[in-house]
């Protein structure tokens, strides 16, 4: 059984874990707006944002190394644009592009690492995000494990039949075959899930359970985040 590390992180009990998901989502939004509007020349501000994130990660008890490693996964994508900007002669803007994408990834990881999926999707729902989008997020998250395990079993079966001895062309052909079969099986599974939902009275919409009340401590948390972000943005 595979366990997603972030899923395990999100089941913690730190003060940050206990905050209302809506407050954390609002704080993330504020952080992203402030970060994206920071001038490339304000390098001290970027350092300030990083300090804020590290403090939050520390408060949540999340491993800094694990967070940095996962946030760095966005760098190959932003690096393409950063390199183009570098070649056009604006090295400071190139650097800020990479910094902004890395810090954004880190902030988003902090949210999902301190809030179970149910919490932040419920927060999105309370913000009137289209239900279909939320359903897609939930199902992808739920069945990613099942599909990944199925893919691994198929890969093992191929290895058992000597797939590692083949040429590179053969490997590509095998990978294409696996993807095709995986797609067909996912399609069948989707059909099965829909049947199971209908069998339990599904009529096209998820009936939500009662929302968690927004407490004053959640408001204090949000305004602290807001003040911290603005202080870094204005003072540094």
């Amino acid at each position: 059984m595979h366990h997603l590390v972030i899923d395990r992180w999100s089941r913690g009990s730190s003060p940050l874990h206990q905050r209302d998901p809506r407050a954390k989502l609002a704080a993330l939004l504020v952080f992203l707006i402030v970060l994206s509007t920071t001038r490339p020349a304000a390098q001290a501000a970027f350092a300030g944002y990083a300090v804020l994130l590290f403090l939050a990660a520390n408060l949540a008890g999340l491993p800094i190394g694990g967070l940095i490693g996962r946030a760095a996964l966005v760098l190959p994508f932003s690096a393409t644009f950063a390199l183009l900007t570098w070649w056009s002669g604006d090295s400071l803007r190139a650097l800020s592009l990479a910094e902004k994408s890395f810090l954004s990834g880190m902030a988003a990881l902090l949210l999902v690492g301190t809030t179970p999926l149910t919490g932040w999707t419920a927060a999105l729902e309370s913000w009137r995000v289209p239900r279909m989008l939320i359903l897609v997020i939930q199902f992808v998250y739920r069945y990613l494990f099942v599909i990944a395990e199925q893919a691994q079993r198929m890969r093992w079966a191929a290895l058992c039949r000597g797939s590692h001895k083949g040429s590179k062309t053969g490997s590509f052909r095998l990978a294409a075959g696996l993807v095709g079969v995986l797609f067909a099986r996912s399609w069948q599974r989707a059909d099965g899930i829909y049947h199971a939902m209908l069998a339990r009275g599904f009529r096209g919409r998820f009936v939500p359970a009662a929302p968690v009340p927004f407490r004053s401590s959640d408001a204090v948390f949000f305004f602290t985040c807001l003040a911290g972000c603005l202080a870094v943005r204005i003072l540094l």
């Binding site: 179970p116 998250y141 049947h195 069998a199 339990r200 009275g201 009936v207 359970a209 009662a210």
Partner: protein, 238 residues
């Protein structure tokens, strides 16, 4: 075969002349006549592809073929579909297809919420049922973190939470190890609902049901007491 004395009992399921053809032309069911008395449990045997699963998908209108289907006296039709789905609980073979909500508690509450219960009542009912199937410790766990046996218990809880009169179990012991099978059997025997059990497992059928129906190429090839059907169709390894 000794005839059972005729007793006036209410019918949980009454089916006449059920036919179903898949869009690719395969005739999956070809004139099925079937009945299940209230409180009775019946096993469905048959080779892979003989039509058993297609048949049970008709019991709460997931598939709609030709023929007459009555569930607890209600004819299966668009107007009665909602009522019938609350009376027939289907536990699917693959629990991963049945457990689609992010946590165990939410998954079990899914059905009651669809039935129109308030969130508080639905969650209370879900907790009660999870306790009954021995999964009260896993309320906030994600379904993909459970073992195969635990998933099956939660899947059964999800169906029991809708308070059905008939339980349909499609290969309930698939993927389960012997101790888990034993525990599941104990749980299923304690449930008072009428049961339709699709299975290849002769031991399970003997322990859980009193009557068996044998499917062959979309038709009922024979029916009777479980042991008699097993012997007649050689439905055991040895």
């Amino acid at each position: 075969m000794p005839r059972r004395p005729h007793i006036a009992v209410s019918r949980a399921i009454q089916i006449q002349g059920l036919r179903y053809r898949y869009p690719d032309g395969t005739q999956a069911l070809d004139g099925i006549d079937f009945h299940l008395d209230a409180g009775e449990s019946v096993a469905l045997f048959g080779a892979n592809g003989s039509g058993k699963t297609t048949f049970v998908l008709h019991l709460n209108g997931l598939l709609r073929g030709e023929g007459a289907i009555e569930i607890c006296g209600l004819p299966l039709a668009d107007a009665t579909l909602e009522q019938i789905r609350s009376k027939v609980g289907v536990v699917f073979q693959d629990s991963d297809e049945q457990l689609f909500m992010p946590t165990v508690l939410e998954d079990v509450a899914f059905g009651p919420l669809n039935l129109g219960l308030s969130p508080d009542d639905a969650l209370t009912r879900a907790r009660t049922v999870l306790k009954r199937v021995g999964m009260a410790h896993a309320l906030e766990r994600a379904p993909y973190h459970l073992s195969a046996g635990e998933k099956k218990r939660v899947a059964i809880a999800g169906v029991l939470a809708m308070d059905p009169e008939i339980l349909v179990l499609d290969e309930p012991t698939t993927f389960l190890d012997p101790p888990t099978r034993r525990d599941l059997l104990t749980l299923l025997r304690s449930l008072p609902q009428s049961k339709v059990v699709v299975t290849h497992d002769a031991n399970l059928a003997r322990a859980l049901t009193t009557r068996a129906v044998f499917f062959d190429q979309g038709k009922i090839a024979g029916e009777g007491e479980v042991i008699e059907v097993i012997q007649r169709f050689h439905w055991e390894y040895s």
